[in-house]
């Protein structure tokens, strides 16, 4: 019997991509398709005194120019049902006020993208600029006001306010106060956002092909903004060229395209360019942590308090709201460490910059960085070995399930084992010798670690604690076998590079005893799949894959019943494997599964009532969430003359429970680590003092290349989760979560003798020389 789960199966997705036959939104434009171009605000804060579109309408190739008023001023309002949250409206095209450079003001519809851009240039807007709020400090000022009439702090949460903390801080052997910051970054999928919308008269609906991670949420957003029933909107995600969170919120442009297509009754396409993607889409990770932590003489943490402020930009993204970063940070900061007393305040502050959305890791890169730096600082001050201090504080084997001070219950992980294995592997591989060798060459060199877990697969039980008006969590799969014995699986998750067509097929194939090539996944189409929440938050294989497994299991049960009847054996004796229904202990007796499927559909009269009429099942999964974990280590060198910092070696020991496909898991880890190294050393979204973006090209926003990212060695541990149908844990974000802390610790190790300490990312060459 072949087990497909766990096998290194090459991906089904690869072939079409390698042949150049993938189908992305931008590939869908036909000869009759109109092209949209957005007029965007050139100012970070301004009111619009007048807009004159008449010249633009006269531009050769321009068909129409639409403002918000032309479309009925559609808007979205993301809501968290908490008193500490202030909801704000996000107009799909700005009204008379703009709040960041790049905000969409009007849309030009033209016969091609060139003419659309000509038209955009010809729209005349009279602006009156206003005061700008550009950072956390300015946003906290009493007179700061990004949204008129509301406080500038859009969310302010105090959680787990332990009354004994001040006494703990006063009495402890060591109390550390420190500030940690991380720069604003951009997910930078290689395909930017893109949407093509067209009206379908036959189905009376607008069909929106869009590069999204969340088709159903997108449908809900369009329906809510335009005030139409959800059935009037069909959202289809074709091949999606990466997302990393940037495409897990509803884009204003998606709504505008749908509205334009409904109004014009012509297909309209918008393909975001790179400048727009860097300036006018969404950003993330701009955070500051003011932290106090107390330790005893052995290095055991006694108490932790954090004041967390997040620069959330100008708008609350739909549907997650701007609370997503502060809430995540404040809830999960203690991480894998046993913190007995805790207080956290999390605030989201509006500024005149592009909105922030969940970007890979969502606050976890930062909270892991905070905890891992605290461990290093305490170890140094107390003279404890930095690895040993982690062992003394982490949740240990035998302590799972562990419920922390933050009321989170951690399912079983391998926190200690992964640290031990990491230390063993890098010692065996001679990292410490290599560090000494580099130092002899005149370079600064250091080794850094980070230990962490990440909560993944947040189901409704966990998501509901956030109190979002639209609460994601569950997902539903439908499994249907056709008369030829092949299977179509539908899911509400929406892969965009993670290989779901392959891994879902592996899961389902094992349940049904067939080959993965006989299983086809349908995803990313709101008319073909049950309502689902898409792909983000490392949820798909646990929730979507879990639902698919349950549904496949139900179909397998029906197949066993049919086989039992046809073979005249007991149902429990039927085994489905290698394409056949066999009988346990009777090797000669079996039927092809395809024959069972044929009989069910074409000769259903041969079967008893309960076996008739098709082979299909629909199941949902809605777990509380599960924690994968990992330990990262890296060896960095620092050139003392240029400040150049290189990650030279990187090792990951990770545990995501049951691995469905090692090829895919390794790819996710490596890609995640690359983005973590990027955040630690290269990438930052910057603005000048007027709020003009100064990182609006890929010459200025430094997405690393193959020479900046070193080989990444990976070792696996497998601790299955009881909360997951497959025993798997989510793992799409871990690489990005752990890498920045490891890199930062390694830099500090390299510079330790100089008495400098960095607690911010990215660390730039210039910082080293300052």
């Amino acid at each position: 019997m072949t087990a497909w789960v766990g096998a290194r199966v090459p991906r089904k997705e690869d072939r079409r991509m390698l042949l150049g036959r993938g189908r992305f939104v931008a590939d869908m434009a036909r000869a009759d398709t109109l092209h949209a171009g957005f007029v965007r605000s050139p100012y970070a804060s301004a009111t619009i005194k007048s807009i004159d579109v008449s010249a633009a309408k006269r531009v050769d190739g321009v068909l129409d120019v639409l403002t918000g008023a032309d479309l009925g001023d559609p808007f979205l309002r993301a809501v968290l049902e908490r008193d500490e949250f202030t909801p704000t409206e996000m107009p799909m095209l700005s009204g008379d006020r703009v709040r960041f450079v790049g905000e969409p003001v009007a849309v030009v519809i033209a016969e091609d993208a060139y003419a659309a851009e000509d038209g955009v240039e010809a729209v005349e807007v009279e602006w009156a600029t206003g005061p700008v709020v550009l950072d956390i400090a300015a946003a906290l000022a009493a007179d700061a006001e990004v949204h008129s009439g509301t406080r500038n702090c859009l969310v302010d949460l105090v959680l787990f306010d332990d009354p004994g903390l001040d006494a703990i801080f006063a009495d402890a052997r060591l109390t550390i106060e420190a500030t940690f910051t991380s720069a604003r970054v951009s997910a930078q999928p290689m395909e930017g956002r893109a949407t093509m919308a067209e009206w379908d008269d036959r189905d009376s609906q607008v069909v929106v092909h869009t590069s999204t991670q969340v088709p159903h949420q997108c449908r809900s957003g369009i329906a809510q903004a335009l005030g139409i029933p959800e059935r009037s909107v069909r959202v289809i995600a074709p091949d999606v060229g990466g997302g990393f969170g940037q495409k897990c919120v509803v884009s204003r442009e998606e709504v505008v395209l749908a509205a334009a297509a409904m109004r014009l009754r012509r297909p309209v396409i918008w393909v975001e360019d790179r400048q727009e993607n860097l300036t006018a889409s969404v950003h993330g990770h701009e955070q500051r942590y003011d932290v106090t932590a107390a330790f005893d003489a052995d290095g055991r943490i006694l108490g932790l308090a954090a004041d967390i402020t997040c620069d959330i930009g100008a708008y609350s993204v739909f549907p997650f709201t701007c609370a997503v970063e502060p809430l995540m940070a404040a809830t999960e900061l203690p991480g894998i460490y046993k913190v007995p007393a805790y207080r956290a305040r999390g605030r989201g502050l509006a500024t005149n910059k592009a909105p922030t959305a969940p970007y890979r890791g969502v606050s976890r890169p930062q909270i892991v960085l905070v905890m891992e730096r605290l461990m290093e600082k305490a170890a140094a001050r107390l003279g404890v070995d930095p690895i040993e201090i982690r062992r003394r504080n982490m949740i240990l084997p035998g302590e799972f399930p562990y419920t922390g001070v933050n009321t989170i219950t951690y399912d079983e992980g391998s926190y200690l084992e992964s640290l031990d294995l990491t230390e063993k592997k890098i010692t065996e591989a001679g990292w410490y010798t290599e560090r000494d060798r580099l130092r002899e060459q005149g370079l600064l060199a250091g080794i850094g670690f980070s230990c962490f877990s990440e909560r993944t697969a947040y189901g409704t039980p966990t998501m509901s604690q956030r109190r979002m008006r639209m609460t994601p969590g569950y997902d539903t799969a439908h499994v249907r076998m056709d008369p030829s014995g092949e299977v179509v699986v539908t899911t509400g998750t929406c892969g965009h590079g993670q290989g779901h067509e392959t891994t879902f097929a592996q899961i389902v194939a094992d349940q049904l005893g067939i080959h993965p090539d006989q299983v086809r996944l349908r995803q990313g189409d709101t008319d073909l799949t049950s309502y689902g929440w898409g792909t983000f938050g490392s949820r798909s294989i646990v929730i979507g894959g879990g639902a698919a497994r349950k549904a496949a299991d139900a179909v397998a049960g029906r197949l066993r019943k049919v086989a039992a009847h046809l073979l005249e054996v007991g149902e429990d004796d039927v085994e489905l494997a290698d394409g056949r229904a066999g009988v346990r202990g009777v090797p000669d007796v079996s039927l092809p599964i395809a024959e069972l499927a044929r009989v069910v559909h074409f000769q259903t009269h041969r079967l008893p009532e309960e076996c008739r009429y098709g082979l299909e099942a629909r199941e949902s999964a809605d777990p509380p969430g599960t924690f994968s974990n990992a330990c990262h280590a890296t060896l960095v060198s620092v050139d003392p003359e240029t400040g150049d910092i290189r990650a030279r070696k990187f090792l990951v020991v990770e545990d995501c429970g049951v691995i469905i496909n090692p090829l895919v898991v390794d790819g996710q880890v490596r890609g995640g680590v690359a983005q973590g190294i990027a955040a630690a050393l290269y990438e930052r979204i910057t603005f000048d003092q007027e709020g003009q973006p100064t990182s609006a090209t890929l010459m200025d926003y430094l997405v690393p290349t193959a020479t900046e990212i070193c080989p990444i060695e990976i070792h696996h541990l497998e601790t299955p989760s009881p909360f997951s149908e497959n025993g798997s844990k989510g793992m799409g974000e871990g690489g990005t979560i752990g890498a920045p802390a490891a890199v930062l610790n390694a830099i500090n190790d390299a510079l330790a003798h100089r008495g400098v300490e960095f607690d911010h990312i990215p660390v730039m060459p210039e910082d080293v020389l300052s």
Binding site: A113, Y114, E117, D118, E121, D273, R274, Q275, E641, T642, G643, D644, L681, Y682, T686, T694, S695, T697, M699, D700, L702, P704, T705, A706, T707, E708, M764, P765, E766, L769, S770
Partner: protein, 277 residues
């Protein structure tokens, strides 16, 4: 990011180019490899009314070594220089590797880079270092401009809008020359580029010349005569400090003025050491 409209014209020889430029007026531009110009046009930061495409002109793609030195045809691709073995001008082949990336080097041209006049560009810096002469042809005939006078400011050169660079002449071999630079990411524009040329005996410097990119609006010649000094690490380091003290670099998102000064010190020392090796 689609360019504004322009008219496209193709030239088949130099005279044809000059004639077309004259006819099309001041807002016309020459299109060679296009690796900088087209990107700027896509951003609509450059919007020429007309382009004269010179890439079909035959006979301008050459590296000719003669008694006087080296003549580089304007349409010579960076990749050609990179893969050539030019006696006495190894510095050019080696420096080519700093130019963008492999596909950029396959398309971009020597003359185009000089014409663009980016102060961090490897060919601009080396043209000044090696005291090259830029050969221009225009309606008033041919003229040669020393590289030291050619680069006149931020993306500004001595070439008139109706003139075309046809050749770059390097007057004498430079067996002891090197260019090095630093950017955070492989293939990016240098934050600072440093180049050095030496004549030296086994242990003593006879003549020296150091030119920098990225520290001013055009390549900057450092005032540092190392003649008579020992050819050793100490000399190179000291020269680096001297160079750093002379420059007043700009600040931008890639590095502050102070950082560029520090880079200058480090890179000048490295360029000198490499040149001496």
């Amino acid at each position: 990011m689609k360019p504004a409209a322009f008219t496209y014209h193709r030239a088949y020889d130099v005279n044809d180019t000059i004639a077309q430029l004259a006819e099309l007026g001041q807002d016309a531009k020459i299109l060679a490899g296009g690796q900088s110009l087209v990107a700027m046009m896509n951003f609509r930061l450059a919007r020429p009314s007309a382009l004269v495409d010179i890439t079909r002109i035959a006979g301008l793609d050459y590296l000719e070594r003669d008694a006087q030195g080296l003549r580089v045809g304007a349409l010579t691709r960076h990749r050609t220089v990179e893969t050539a073995k030019i006696d006495g001008f190894g510095v050019l082949s080696k420096a080519a590797r700093w130019i963008g990336h492999y596909p950029i080097r396959c398309r971009g041209t020597f003359g185009g880079s000089i014409a663009h006049g980016d102060s961090t560009a490897e060919w601009c810096v080396l043209a000044v270092l090696l005291e090259a002469r830029i050969v221009l042809q225009g309606p008033r005939g041919r003229r040669e401009v020393p590289a030291t006078e050619f680069f006149q400011g931020f993306f500004m050169t001595a070439a008139q809008p109706d003139e075309m660079i046809v050749e770059v002449r390097f007057p004498k071999p430079a067996p002891h020359a090197a260019l090095t630079e630093y950017s955070q990411r492989q293939g990016d524009f240098a934050i600072v580029a440093a180049s050095a040329r030496l004549d030296l005996t086994e242990d003593e410097v006879l003549t020296s010349r150091v030119v920098l990119g990225g520290v001013g609006q055009q390549p900057v010649v450092v005032d540092a005569d190392l003649a008579g000094q020992p050819a050793n690490e100490e000399t190179w380091r000291a020269a680096g400090e001297v160079a750093a003290a002379q420059v007043d670099p700009p600040s931008d998102g890639h590095g502050s003025s102070a950082y560029r000064k520090k880079l200058t010190a480090a890179l000048v020392a490295r360029a000198l050491a490499e040149a001496a090796a």
